[in-house]
Amino acid sequence: MPEQLVYTFEVFLNGLMAGVLYALVALGFVLIYKASGIFNYAQGVMALFAAMTLVGIQNGQVPFAHLINAIFGTEIHHFGWHVHSIIAIALTVVVMIALAWAVQRFVFRHLVGQEPILLFMATIGLAYFMEGVADLMWGSDIKTLNVCAAEGTCLPQGMNVWFEGSTYEAWGTGVFVDNLDIVASIVAAVLVIGLVMFAQYTKQGRAMRAVADDHQAALSVGVSLNFIWVLVWSLAGFVALVAGIMWGAKSGVQFSLSLIALKALPVLMLGGFTSIPGAIIGGLIIGVGEKLFEFLIGAPYLGGATENWFAYMLALLFLVFRPQGLFGEKIIERV
């Protein structure tokens, strides 16, 4: 196979993998928007908060240690234990559920019936509040994320040697794929299947869909809005944790993680704000589109660094023809 074609395939494949990572972030937005009509600006910060909490629990870090030491003049930083990754993930999920309850109880319960823009503003406030709390709880330093199922079975990093070798033998040029991206793709697939099954086949899932369709009607048949919104924010928190793990494994867990939300916006514009498959397909299209554009046009002719703006341009192009996004619901309001 010609070398240029193999390179194009390599870029395409890596674009797909990058798209999966974008989709992981976008999923959290979709879950909350679908059920409550809230565009959750804090989704990126939730990923950061979840990843920081996971590492903090894993390393036995004392939350709010800096604050405690400043007030009481103590010198405590660590509990002195190390928590297994699986237990740490479970505990982080509990923290995210508690956060979902708190957000619902103290913020959105008081804003029921308010204009969407007010709800959006509330999520902006929530984002800054959570960023500050995360800083106070776990500190601002960059933390190394190491998630291991067992001794020696950790999240893999680096080139998949088998795939590189196989493609080299077949085409004379090896194709690079990152092991972490492969794992992220599998995890994303399992997550999406799990979410769809949950929505289709469980009582809570059906209630969630009912609320998404018409929350007044859902209320009238006895569905608890409070419970559903806590459930949805918890699910979004879980998705944020998964996204935080995958992105945090690449760069270490640090405050820039909250900026991954920027990568999700074009995905949402393209895939629609209300569709789980839309988030996945949108992510893949954005990932492949931006990478191929950079490879074929951006780097050779435009000086590179085209991915950020191209993703938005691609999404805008789709919006011109389908304002609700590829899979979004077309809302017709009768007047």
Binding site: E131, I142, T144, Q157, F176, Q254, F255, G304
Partner: protein, 427 residues
């Protein structure tokens, strides 16, 4: 009653009067936001050095030093706000800690007669003191750094870079673009092929750039990164199995937190520096005794000897030494920003002086002059040992190629002078 009223009046006067007994050193720090991991150790080092002077020596020339921190979040607008809100406190010198903020402050600080010290960042051509009267970027700037990288690579390739491929992975911002001009000139001079790979802020996703590097197989990769871009680049380099010892970063891409997330895969990564690494200096013992052990450290006291903490210490030391010189020159313990500027322009850092401060060989010896605010620009190279988790200097601080750099400084500063009708400060 009269006595009580008198007491209140004195108390009110004391509260209302400006505090004249302090030497104020504003610190435009960033302890929050995406770049906090780099901002905190620098700010801690800067603050701890002045705390040491206060605790151990009773201040500078008997006057207490006061570090006035203002949080910028590495945001240019907030940086300018910080400048405006602190300059009235008697600020002696500003460390903007951001190239963007530095650019914005150059005209303001010049008009206010307050010096700026942008050490290893900012506007490179500000090294020309004839044009930039209030800006100092000693002991080194980006163009010195770019030349230092190429000098090191020349050494590594037995003095011949002809036909070699060098890729520059850079933060797609004013900061990241600073070395390009110099590297292009050096590419012409030495015959190497330079490819430019910009990475957009924040740099969390760099797959395209590293796939390009994998395809083009450059002999060396140079990085001009900051924040998360550094950690991701080092991880991506490891992912594509790019030889880590052929990968070299600027001094803002060579701290502990840049390499630790990649673990063992970062072993052998290199970065240039303009000061020493590690904590094997008598000064650090003093900091431990007089600052950390007394519970007066700006942070947890666990950053001593890290790259950016040391840089903060070094910046504070240079500011404090200039303040001492200003006191000596004016005969006043309480100096003004104008006195400080004059002292910075005549600053003479000798090996003996550094040794006396407990920092022998920590940085280069240099003499600032009206024409040269940039210092000698000596550049060394440090390498990361992932096993020991330490940086070690692998080359001495050595001189950059001023034959290439000086005309660039002259050209850029002349353009600034023409735009701003500056006739020259040194004549």
């Amino acid at each position: 009653m009269k006595y009580r009223l008198g007491t209140y009046a004195v108390a009110a006067m004391m509260a209302a009067s400006p505090v004249m007994a302090d030497l104020v050193f504003p610190s435009l720090s960033y302890r929050t936001g995406p770049y906090a991991a780099g901002g905190i150790p620098f700010a801690d080092g800067y603050a701890d050095y002045f705390t040491l002077l206060n605790e151990r020596d009773g201040g500078i020339g008997g006057v207490e030093a006061r570090v006035l921190e203002c949080e910028t979040g590495y945001n240019t607008e907030k940086g300018v706000e910080c400048y405006e809100s602190t300059k009235g406190e008697g600020a002696l010198v500003y460390q903007p800690l951001s190239t963007g903020i530095t650019y914005q402050l150059i005209p303001k600080a010049t008009a206010d007669d307050i010096p700026i010290h942008s050490m290893g960042y900012g506007r490179t051509s500000a090294a020309n003191g004839d044009v930039f009267s209030h800006v100092f970027n000693y002991p080194g700037n980006y163009w010195h750094g770019a030349s230092g990288v190429i000098n090191y690579l020349l050494e590594a390739h037995n003095g011949d870079l002809n036909g070699k491929k060098i890729a520059l992975v850079y933060h797609n911002s004013a900061y990241g673009k600073e070395p390009i001009r110099t590297l292009e000139e050096l590419a012409k001079k030495h015959g190497f092929e330079l490819s430019l790979l910009p990475v957009d802020h924040p740099g969390q996703e760099q797959k395209s750039q590293w796939l390009q590097i994998r395809r083009e197989k450059p002999d060396n990769v140079v990085m001009w990164g900051w924040g998360v871009m550094n950690q991701v680049a080092i991880q991506e380099a490891a992912n594509i199995r790019y030889p880590m010892d052929q990968f070299i970063g600027v001094w803002w891409s060579g701290a502990q937190h840049d390499v630790l997330p990649a673990g063992d895969a970062a072993n052998g990564y290199k970065a240039i520096t303009f000061h020493a690494v590690g904590s094997d200096y008598p000064l650090f013992d003093d900091i431990k005794t007089h600052v950390v052990d007394k519970g007066k450290a700006a942070g947890a006291g666990d950053q001593i000897g890290t790259v950016l903490y040391n840089r903060g210490i070094y910046a504070a030391m240079l500011a404090a030494e200039a303040a001492k010189d200003a006191q000596a020159a004016t005969g006043n313990a309480e100096i003004t920003a104008g006195d400080m500027r004059d002292a910075m322009e005549n600053l003479n850092i000798t090996e003996e002086r550094m040794a006396g401060l407990g920092m022998p060989g920590f940085g280069p010896s240099f003499q600032v002059s009206c024409e040269n605010h940039g210092g000698p620009g000596l550049v060394g190279v440090a390498q990361w040992d992932a096993g020991a988790k330490t940086w070690s200097l692998i080359s001495e601080l050595s001189a950059p190629d001023m034959d290439v750099i000086q005309p660039l400084i002259a050209e850029d500063s002349a353009a600034f002078a023409a735009e701003n009708n500056i006739e020259g400060n040194c004549s």
